[in-house]
Symmetry: C2
Subunit: 447 residues, 2 copies
């Protein structure tokens, strides 16, 4: 054990709370600041997409001993349930038998994590706005909006776990040689709710990730333990079919009747949800460096906010903690060495999952309903079953393994080129599960 | 002529001053704000790289009738003069006979442009810090640092011509859906000076752009009308040979003795220049949108700051004005229509010149001294001479034409692939100017 340090974490979200538990276990003292009030006392906002915890997330939770607590509020999703306009609903399994992603309401998980961090000894300071950060002094200025009312809170180390619009990063951004980008999608999203049946059961298959792919837009639904589903409508801001044009009760109703006729039956408060819930933006944030001397480090969305289409935002943030913890162990909490190794090793993987997440919007909204895409996935799945040592599908590598994201991106690109070749074979629709096709893939891999 | 508008330009640099002349010619009233004092009254700072005015720049200057005034302080550079360590200095022509880029000191040009804009009727407000911008109201807040001392200056239209660290853009950046990136090179630069001979003549060939390429770093020199050269040393911040390691008189001297032995003779104040001049950063800034309603538009570096390695920063900014002026004419100063068309048409070209400029650092610092690169250029030049309709070299297209940058980037990529093939031909070193090679290029173009 090293000398215990006084550590401040800015942000009491999922990453901030989990990081606190890891730091406490290493003997440090931890204060967590949040500008908002304690979310355990309020109704969680209507602007969040359910979380999909997968391998990287579970690993970080289990390693600190809270995985089983979290499993109690998680529902396994073994497959996608695809709802097209033309044909009956059908399933696409996510991985091999038993492999699943786990749906959890963001609000429920965050409340649980704060409870657990508090039990572990974290000191939460809610309603505390951090107005300024002195980076070389690891000092947070809190208090009133007037400068004279501010209080200086000095620490040994400060973590910025304060999300996509991080205050701590904002301060680092003003230095020279700080690379930064924010890129918005032209698609926004809105939360809707499918309530439970009167007996508390789910209105749709509860072990599926439901998708209604419609090309430039889509609706998804993920189950909650109370029998409800959190739905998310992804839709362009502008254009013929867009949030712009859905500005009256009539237009909203007509939109759902045209594109999601079966959904209307299960969302009784459709118009109310739609008009009252905000339209939220989707963006990718990249920056570098992530750390300042041995004093300050960014983590989670503050360092790398991504779009939600691979379900990896929280998982990537939790994996930051796994990596950081390994490095604290390796470098005995020598923060300068830890921080340098942390940002160097983690940055390429953060960039890779950002790219994969961005690309997956197209896959989810368009290709899941595309015959050629479905055939590809079937061929890949068959080859994977026969040669699990030679082909791990991209989705499985990202979701059901802890192999680096950068490796997954790379492998995925190689696999796409191979499958492009395979799909050019004559009569591939008939021959898809033949020896000939499997042999061709094997040859292409060997090339 | 439309109803005259009250227009504010923030920034009295090259783009701001030229834009003022164009707006005044269209009958508008123009105030130009600058946070700094009038540069006509001060010595220009020691942190600037000489400008290279080329076709796009001259077009914008000539169209408003000031090209000839500017030519008086410009020196034509017909070629690169390459100074390697191993061999005697040699030349690479930039284009065809008579084609040149024009070296001008940034300070001298800016002073002249302010004079000319003032003569044309622009109202310059120096030492006026713009603290805040109300975008929907096109209002600039100037005055003291205290909010109560601020004065609201309302306009019909505001242009942000306030450079890479634009205050106007900073305000737009805080809106949702504003895409933004800033990316620094790991190479910085420092200005040095080769003074004139005692008789006022130049110490080096004055009609050349001088380069001392050294791989990861390089020195360049561009002539001024007073007989001096403005030199720029581009060098990494960190690493074995870097600004980090040049921290004593001895290390600076040793560095120049090792890598630039002939330069020492012509820079008498080397140590003084080196230690007194700041080390400046090189960065690329991209953002979008560039405009806000019919009220505010970014232009020049404020919209698209680029690294200096293609000599196109100012030329690109001036071309923004050319495009804007065409659109004001086409849309009769309907600002909403003008701004929408301006940002849509200009953005892909700004991105393209950013990319080309970034890539050109490698070309200048490494490849200009590389035998295979020189051979490539010779083959390209020969083919261009024989088939000027089929092959405009990338450098010529960017520098000596007004064809869109995006087209140049695209063509350049195609040409590189063709030349990659040509360079694989056996005995290309001997055969380079043969019919066989020329025919092969023709065939590859036709494919």
């Amino acid at each position: 054990m090293q000398t215990p340090n006084n550590v401040a974490i800015v942000g009491s979200g999922l990453v901030g709370s989990l990081l606190a538990m890891y730091l406490l276990k290493r003997g440090h003292k931890v204060d967590i600041y949040d500008r908002r009030e304690d979310i355990r006392n309020i109704k969680f906002s209507g602007r969040s997409i359910n979380l999909a915890v997968s391998e990287r997330g579970w690993h970080a939770l289990d390693a600190i001993g809270i995985g089983d607590e979290v499993r109690k509020i998680a529902i396994p999703l073994y497959r996608r349930a695809i709802h097209t306009l033309e044909q009956p609903m059908y399933f696409q399994p996510y991985g091999k038998e038993g492999e699943a992603i786990y749906s959890i309401s963001r609000g429920a998980l965050n409340k649980l994590m704060i409870d657990l961090a508090e039990e572990a000894g974290a000191n939460f300071l809610f309603d505390q706005k951090v107005w300024d950060v002195d980076l070389p002094e690891a000092t947070l200025y809190t208090g009133g909006s007037d400068k004279s009312d501010r209080k200086a809170n000095k620490y040994d180390v400060v973590f910025g776990a304060d999300g996509a619009f991080s205050r701590v990063r904002h301060k680092m951004q003003r230095r020279s040689l700080f690379n930064y980008s924010q890129e918005f999608l032209e698609t926004g999203y809105k939360e809707l709710t499918i309530p439970a049946n009167e007996d508390g059961t789910h209105k749709l298959d509860k072990n599926s990730f439901h998708i209604w792919p419609r090309g430039r837009f889509m609706l998804i639904a993920m189950p909650n333990t109370d029998g409800s589903f959190t739905c998310t409508l992804f839709l362009p801001y502008h254009g013929e079919v867009s949030f712009d044009t859905l500005n009256t009760e009539e237009s909203i109703k007509a939109f759902f009747e045209t594109y999601f006729p079966t959904v209307i039956e299960v969302i009784p408060d459709l118009i109310k949800d739609f008009t009252e819930h905000p339209t939220s933006a989707l963006l990718t944030i990249k920056c570098y460096p992530w750390t300042y001397w041995d004093k300050v480090a960014l983590i989670g969305d503050a360092a790398h906010a991504i779009v939600p289409f691979y379900g990896q935002g929280m998982n990537a943030g939790f994996e930051d903690i796994t990596v950081l913890n390994e490095l604290m162990e390796a470098h005995s909490d020598n923060w300068e060495a830890v921080f340098k190794a942390y940002e160097t090793s983690r940055k390429p993987n953060a960039d890779a999952i950002a790219e994969l997440s961005y690309r997956n919007f197209m896959e989810m909204s368009t290709k899941t309903a595309d015959a050629s895409f479905i055939l590809r996935k079937k061929i890949e799945a068959k080859f994977y079953t026969e040669h699990p040592d030679k082909w791990v599908p991209l989705y499985s590598r990202v979701t059901f393994s802890r192999k680096p994201y950068a490796e997954a991106l790379d492998q995925g690109d190689k696999q796409r080129l191979i499958m492009d070749e395979v799909m050019k074979m004559p009569n591939i629709e008939q021959l898809w599960d033949s020896e000939e096709v499997m042999n061709k893939i094997e040859r292409l891999i060997a090339e």
